[in-house]
């Protein structure tokens, strides 16, 4: 199929939506489809061959923070030209409720349109106040996809339609094989954590309290932490004798992330909430890391009820200690969890997720005509 994808945010800025679109586009191309992505982009950024720049996005306050959005007639006419010349079988827009390219694409185009909602935020009063053009544009979407249950619920509330739940994928091959960092996991064993250190819901505090106990019992056990945050604050929470055994890497590149997953004996996800999917878990599974995770709904589901990783009572350091001990003392169990995780994560591998997306395209195309411009 010829697929036209619309990205509402500046391409080269790190962001979940942009990453998702990049992975989806490459997976679709890998499956043999023709893909063109239109996206705002800063001048001079090198773009992959399938991306068409739509001019620069403008930083504007929106919804409580500053977003970089492409709006206005010039952006609309760029999208219109791209649609007109594209000859697409289907248009796939992302975050159409944001005041940017995706919304404009719905406005100017006609034919089979699929929309993916990534966040759970549409504000119905604001949308109502912005006039009929917005509603008309959104009504043109034939098929909705939500990446999380939270996103799907808001969609039902505000736009009235139901959405297909297709979670974010993970590019397994990026994490499957990697060289451990030199000297890791080391003889005493190693625990790992990846995420924002200062965000309470990521659960680092729980892990640090657990490590205080585990580290005291096991000489040589080390803790590897990767992610942004204040180093001093974190070390202050660790008892002084254990501090040399806590290694903080700060923010790491994608390649090094993969190496971190391969550098530990047990990967810990002590999150206390707010994870609608838990991409960190999927990456660790793709790397085949033995996992100990909080018993959150999303984690329990992804870890197949505990078959692909150990679950412990959320927020309880003692439970985390027990779960980690079970794995640290049992290399066979670690190996079998690792294999189970690698197997389970295949359902989230991008080529599989992309095939599900293509099925949505096909369902929508069957019911509508060709993609063209309406104004």
């Amino acid at each position: 199929m010829r697929v036209g994808i619309v990205c509402p945010y500046t391409w080269d800025v790190p962001g979940g939506v942009q990453q998702h679109i990049r992975d989806l586009a490459e997976a679709l191309i890998g499956l043999g489809h023709e893909v063109s992505v239109i996206s705002p982009a800063d001048d001079d950024t090198p773009l992959p061959p399938y991306v068409v720049p739509a001019g620069r996005a403008v930083p504007v306050p929106y919804n409580g923070s500053v977003a970089r959005l492409a709006f206005g007639f010039l952006s609309a006419s760029r999208v219109r030209r791209w649609v007109k010349e594209g000859g697409f079988d289907v248009l796939h827009v992302h975050e159409p409720a944001a005041p940017s390219l995706s919304l404009l694409a719905c406005w100017v185009a006609d034919g089979p349109i699929v929309a993916t909602v990534h966040t759970a935020t549409p504000r119905s009063r604001v949308m109502h106040a912005s006039g009929p053009a917005l509603r008309t544009a959104l009504e043109k979407v034939n098929g909705w996809i939500a990446v999380s249950e939270a996103a799907r619920t808001t969609l039902v509330e505000h736009i009235g339609g139901d959405a297909v739940l297709i979670p974010n994928g993970v590019t397994v091959r990026r994490y499957e094989k990697a060289t451990p960092l030199p000297g890791w996991p080391g003889e005493g064993g190693a625990l790992g954590f990846l995420g924002r250190m200062d965000e309470p819901r990521k659960g680092l505090d729980v892990l640090l309290r657990a490590f205080a106990e585990l580290g005291a019992q096991r000489p040589g056990l080390r803790l590897l932490i990767a992610g942004p945050g204040d180093v001093e604050d974190v070390l202050a929470k660790v008892p002084a004798p254990l501090r040399p055994r806590v290694i903080l890497l700060g923010q790491v590149t994608e390649e090094d992330k993969a190496r971190v997953y391969h550098s530990v004996d047990v990967f810990c996800a002590p999150n206390t909430g707010g994870e609608s999917f838990g991409i960190v878990l999927a990456e660790a599974m793709a790397a085949g890391a033995p996992i100990v995770a909080s018993d959150l709904d999303a984690f329990r589901q992804v870890l197949r009820g505990g078959r692909a990783g150990e679950l412990f009572e959320t927020g309880d350091p003692a439970a985390l200690v027990q779960a980690a001990e079970r794995l640290l003392d049992d290399p066979e169990r670690r190996a079998s969890l690792s294999a189970a995780a690698s197997e389970a994560v295949r359902a989230y591998d991008w080529p599989v997720v992309a095939r599900d997306v293509v099925r949505v395209y096909e369902a929508v195309v069957a019911a509508s005509g060709q993609v063209g411009v309406v104004r």
């Binding site: 306050p61 709006f71 206005g72 005041p99 504000r123 604001v126 106040a129 917005l134």
Partner: protein, 187 residues
Amino acid sequence: MLIDIILIAVAAVLIGVYVSWRAGRLDRLHARVEKARAALDAALLRRSSVALELAACGLLDPATSLLLAGAAHDARAAGEPTELAESDLTRALRAVLSQPGFRASLDGRGSADELLAELEAAGHQVFLARKFYNDAVAATQAARRRWLARVLGLAGGAALPDFFEMDDSLVVAGDEGWGSDMPHLTS
């Protein structure tokens, strides 16, 4: 003896008159601040109303409409104008107005000219109202800082008024050269 008493009495009366005059002046300054604040609130409300009208008029693309509606809604959401939300509305307005081809795209379209003129007027009104309000605040703060006002508590229980700091400039990038605080959007 008598002359001393008379002199002291006269001095007391004169001091009393003077203090009373100072208190009265402070009262008038406070009243001026209140009126200026009411005018500023009204101007801000007018501006967000016009922004909402522009968003709903259907002459703009839906993304721009949504952006304006969101910013205007947030500005009014708190009930009382807040510096942050109003500054955000200003930034949204500037971003919309500075879009290349914005003016051209609205040429000859229905009530667009009227709405733009109203928006311009509302923006100028905010600018001026805020200037006058801050001037009144400055004068009042200066008066209250003088020792007589502090020692004798001449302000009574009145709260010390605060400046209203916000970004209210609709001068769009590229237009700064005109040398005016109040740019004209419709020519």
